[in-house]
Symmetry: D2
Subunit: 348 residues, 4 copies
């Protein structure tokens, strides 16, 4: 860490900084410069809490040299983490996985139908919300536990592993009984109680980026999970808040190569929430794969016009089938592939 002093900082100001650094248990190295002095803080093996130094007299700026996270970083572990959702369905290796399904589980017929569509199109896992975080208390909030048992049934029939969201610690336990992967939604990315709970579990976690979370924040939230012992983490770019109302969110695909450089964890993209508009989902899913995403999360509904939530961003079944084909072509163009659909009982 570097404490940059103001141009007119006095020797006494510098001495005070040095003595507080020592009091904090680190070594202090003053470096006088042409315009101003900087004091290096050395000896830390992680990020130092700088708030004691930040507003001392004569201090202009604190500069962190060490990243605030550890175990998620590629410096900590050089090889990619590969998360297994089911035999043959892994995230973080060469394959690009396609996770499809409706926003919410609405009925037995709907989720079974959706699962068959995903399976038939060549998708690798089934998504669908049983617990739904909705901005308005008056919107449909999901079927809850009943939704989980419907998901279990759809998974059993098609052989697709299940990805579904948990909104609190109790929900996480329930989800883990049914799902191959617990999703933490964007609004809960910094719900630390929930992060600690799933960190103590073994089930893989899909951690979505918060609406105003920097990539650094996302990695720190993943660090909460890793710090508790769960290494099976998949990150997910799902769009951030922006000033432009043209789309529901701004899908930040550059996050994909940035995460790949900083961390060993896999990252997938969710162009459905990332754009909020059906006809943008297809080109942006292709773009995500071209940018190097380890998978995509796509909303598809048997009848989008009758969906209880997010109908406008759900693909029609034939669009989803076409999309999987296009993604195969793009993946092949960059030397990757989508795992083949396994034989199963699914049929439309």
């Amino acid at each position: 860490m570097l404490v940059v002093m103001q141009h007119d900082a006095t020797a006494k100001d510098v001495d005070r900084v040095v003595s507080i650094i020592k009091e904090m248990g680190y070594e202090a190295r003053p470096m006088p410069g042409a315009q101003r002095t900087a004091v290096g803080l050395v000896g830390n093996d992680g990020r130092v809490d700088a708030s004691r130094l930040e507003a001392l007299p004569g201090v202009a700026q604190i500069i962190h040299v060490t990243q605030p996270y550890k175990q998620v970083s590629r410096e900590w572990r050089a090889e990619n983490t590969v998360v297994t959702l089911a035999p043959g369905v892994t995230v973080g290796g060469d394959a690009v996985v396609v996770i499809g399904g409706p926003c919410s589980v609405e009925s037995e017929e709907q989720i079974l139908s959706a699962a068959r569509i995903v399976k038939a199109a060549g998708g690798n896992a089934l998504r669908g919300g049983a617990f739904k975080p909705r901005s308005s208390p008056y919107s449909f909030q999901g079927l809850g536990k009943k939704g989980l048992s419907l998901l279990a049934r759809a998974g059993k029939e098609t052989g697709l592993p299940i990805v579904t969201e948990a909104m609190d610690s109790d929900g996480a336990q329930m989800v883990a009984e049914v799902a191959a992967c617990i999703q933490i939604g964007a609004r809960n990315m910094q719900n630390y109680s929930l992060l600690k709970t799933v960190g103590k579990m073994k089930t893989p976690v899909l951690l979505k980026r918060g609406m105003a979370a920097t990539i650094n924040d996302l990695l720190l939230s993943a660090e909460y999970i890793l710090a508790e012992g769960n290494e099976n983490i998949i990150l997910c770019e799902r769009g951030v808040r922006s000033f432009d109302p043209a789309a529901r969110n701004m899908l930040d695909l550059t996050a994909i190569p940035i995460v790949h450089r900083l961390s060993h964890l896999p990252i997938i993209a969710d162009p459905s929430h990332g754009t909020g508009l059906r006809d943008k989902v297809i080109p942006m899913a292709r773009a995500a794969v071209a940018a190097g995403a380890d998978g995509v999360l796509i909303e598809v509904h048997p009848e989008p016009d009758r969906a209880l939530s997010d109908g406008a961003q759900s693909l029609y079944p034939d669009q989803f089938t076409q999309l999987v084909g296009e993604l195969r072509a793009v993946a092949a163009a960059i030397g990757r592939s989508i795992p083949p659909a396994k034989s199963g009982t699914a049929q439309l």
Copy 2:
């Protein structure tokens, strides 16, 4: 709600929209215009979930005319909600309250000393975190239950009501035993499980705006609490995320008059988190009061240079005392006042 059709939408497209609106149980009123047709949806007494309509063929745009929230709106209730923290300490009336204290409870000595400083300076309530949401799992996370009992003691000694944060449902119950007001932090503004929990309680709630929350989002989160029955809600502007690293957050003081127009709930400002810089806290606290805030939340620490968290934004004791004086002058300039400190046992 208005469904605006594309310029080249066909009569069949319009008919489809009309029939789906009817199927949803509302009345549809097509309005042909010079350039395009719009279809009004009438008969709703709240916001309609538009996702079924949004991506139909020929639909250009959905326009919501009705606000998505109800009970928080000034149209629902014209008079200001006044929340009582303690006898003589109310938020939402003519008075402007000053809530001061350290970021975290660190020790008995520290919190007692801070409480005495707040009391002596003329502050009206004591803040201090026992459960701390921190971006990094390696930062100080608060003293937990022990912190609550220290807060209780400081409150008892000084007579100041306590405001402190809860991070999950269990924590909310613990906080309610000690505090006059449960704080929901910015990161949990859309933690709906937690909002529902505090909605079922009677204790006043201080709901902080999320880092990327629109004012509409903030009001919807308050609606979650109100919908469960708890009417004692204080909103809090604490800065939002911006592109400019010059300050920790961008304090959006315009939110204050906007909320006052849209809602009957009181709103206070937190210039400490809103700026993150000690020497900006004083002018911005003054500005908040001049903008019409019903109170301010200010971090003050007996020894900011030794604080375990947020030291750089905590005021020195004498700065806090000076600030309360300045706030009295600004409040008086706009016809409001800070409640007088009640006599008590506090002494420095």
Copy 3:
């Protein structure tokens, strides 16, 4: 346009709105609803300036139904605009063009070398700045007129059409003598004097999106150019400002399918400025093509380590060659292609 009245607006308030709409020369259609009245403004063939209505007593909100732009919209013209930079190099048709070159023209040797690299790799046009807008007055500002003549020479030798920036009206005239396309930079996207100047010229214009410009703003700025008579406009997504310092800008690739739906104008992407980081340029250029971009603008420098500006985002020559190959594969995967390099005199 729809004027939404407040819940408690009086009949007199509504009448006032109606009479002002009539005074403005339009027809007014009041529509009483369950919760509130709305007044439709009909008869406009473009966007109405709503400021007279917006703050009248009883008015809650103004809703624009008509887009504020005309000639740039796809409703105005259904077929794609195809802009010709040189024989066989067109933007907006099936082909995906690659425009490469250094940030700035630095010397004869540098720009000739860069042009040969672009040509040999299969690029379709040469970029390079002679007039450079730089945030700091102390940064290298470009070679000016001399830079233009060096560009002309490089273009002549390789047969590549030239794309280069103009910063003011005088500069635009100079640029037009040499270049196939005048670039308007992000900082000048709303420099209306400059937009009007290039609107009166015949030379194609490459209009970059401003750092905080919505897609609507971008289209309105293009409308300024079209309104003066110049139809040869290429839009360019180059990243917008965001809260995340992880990249220089946030490249908003969703803008590509959005623009394609709203407008007949072609749009390309600039992943060099859009990310600011060399190792992110390659994946994001691939992603842009997969998202449907009509071209990419890529910085490549013979010796990036010695570049006078933007060295960190310039590709090394062999990276550029590899990139063009990858872009061919991605374009093919979605049924498009990069025009073949024409035979010329270029050699490395």
Copy 4:
């Protein structure tokens, strides 16, 4: 400047950085740390262009210690710059100036009437646009030169100095003949040709912050003007772009104390554009003064309901009069004052 190396950077990587720093003419000081090495660049008396170093193998990050601007900084000049608009009307000293007037000059009657209102209410200068930058080419663009002569007449009659915008170099010369202060609008904050032109003039310049400009960017644009020799610069916070549509812009009042710390230049606030809503202008103008602004820029129109532009944010005459009174009270509360209206010929 500090070049932070990656964890696994080799000695060869470090040597390469050192040798390039030397080649650039500076001194290099490698500093090995527990986790990684950093290389200090010493000997620069301003910001170094880091692009040559930023993407070298093994480089993790570049950290600028020196600010990129010089002459605008308080380190360069400790005392406040005081800009004189007219005898007794100075910006940057103890006084807080009120600059009022309509968005656009519309007619002789309108601007004379507005000037008299400003004068009678105790305002200190008259604003009004003759050249108007408008997002749409179809909106009213101002009266141009005729508008300037009407402004001159209104200034002469009332004795109020004139502040009005120039959009290009020709316009700046015309404006300077009439106005006490040339306004550079937000959209032209980085129009460097225009900044250089006004930098060569003597007339004071009011430089508005761009919609996505950091405070650093704003200071760098001011540096362009100062670097050409014009020291009479007033900065203006007028709201930045945000994700929340609740207001037209997000008024960043914290910019005021931040600029006051970093620079000797005065800064005023424009709550009219900063909020875009008439009933928010009054509280936010008070807040700006409480935050320490050296003045406010307020839109007032004799008949806002008939304004040709920005009617919704223009105050009614009696609101303006009331506002000046409130601002006097707030200014007094923090030990400042609004200069008394000078006697003149104005009468309502």
